[in-house]
Assembly symmetry: C2
Homo-oligomer: 174 residues x 2
């Protein structure tokens, strides 16, 4: 598979992201193909606006969203909290995490939404950079012992645009 | 180009639809590739729910939207209005037509939105089937004489869903 024909692009469902991409990554079935779509990156070493250039080559030039596998941080392995601070600001969770369902109604993952703030609290300013962080549910466990696979998460970075982008002008489905 | 990898799909911008697909069709550069993405179809000979099966093979199985080139009707050639009546109901325009712009700010086409009604007016009932009809602007004309290329339009058929589809659960960009 080489260059995409015009109008075709990576526009995955959340189920595809978790059940195919994230699960394959967690099972170390990540070959060259995966790297060309969703590369593994320590995203917090970069500013949000540097991330579009770091995306997978098959998604290169997407003006809308950028996907990355993000490895667990060393401090998390030792029981600490992840650091989501960059040189110029920080990512902060917004709202509550929500469950992601497969099309047959099973919980397959959890999504956290984050917003990037410029500067340091309390003098920081919300930006238009947002992120969805997906983690997969541990499989093959009794439902009474739920848990998350924390080794790798899948992040979708995007910009909330106030302008009339082409996609935005399409009627919403609600 | 054969089958798309998981997560890749036809998700064109309006500019891609008009400037690439519709313009190529109008210039008779429509080869086999175009037919595999956006086939030419007299869509008003079918009920809306028959259309998903008629879509291009490279888009087959898309649960969200279906694209067709629609030829001008014979009655339109003779100055009449197009008939948008099917066996079970009819398509009706909603709202005003809107201009479609290229990324460099030129008007490249016009979009009409339509809704399908079951039955006959005034006893008809609005359905969840909707359509965007795109027509291209005549090119190479002084701007004082705008006009539409009416020979072929490009239609995007979709269903307004009340359920929590995966795409719908993504945060909106407003």
């Amino acid at each position: 598979m080489e260059e995409m024909p015009i109008g075709f692009r990576f526009y995955p469902t959340e189920e595809e992201l978790i059940s195919f991409y994230l699960q394959n990554m967690l099972q170390h079935k990540n070959g060259n193909y995966f790297n060309r779509v969703i590369p593994l990156l320590h995203i917090y070493q970069f500013e949000p606006w540097q991330l579009p250039q770091k995306c997978g080559e098959l998604c290169y030039g997407d003006p809308e969203q950028w996907f990355f596998f993000v490895p667990r941080q060393e401090r998390e392995v030792h029981g600490g909290k992840p650091s989501r601070t960059t040189t110029t600001g920080y990512w902060k969770a917004t709202g509550s995490p929500s469950d992601i369902y497969s099309s047959d109604g099973k919980v397959i993952g959890v999504k956290k939404c984050m917003v990037f703030y410029n500067g340091k609290a309390p003098r920081s300013a919300k930006t238009k950079w947002k992120m969805n962080e997906y983690k997969a549910i541990k499989q093959d466990l009794p439902t009474s012992t739920p848990g998350l696979r924390n080794e790798v998460s899948l992040c979708r970075v995007y910009v909330v645009s106030g302008s009339s982008r082409t996609f935005d002008r399409w009627p919403t489905s609600t």
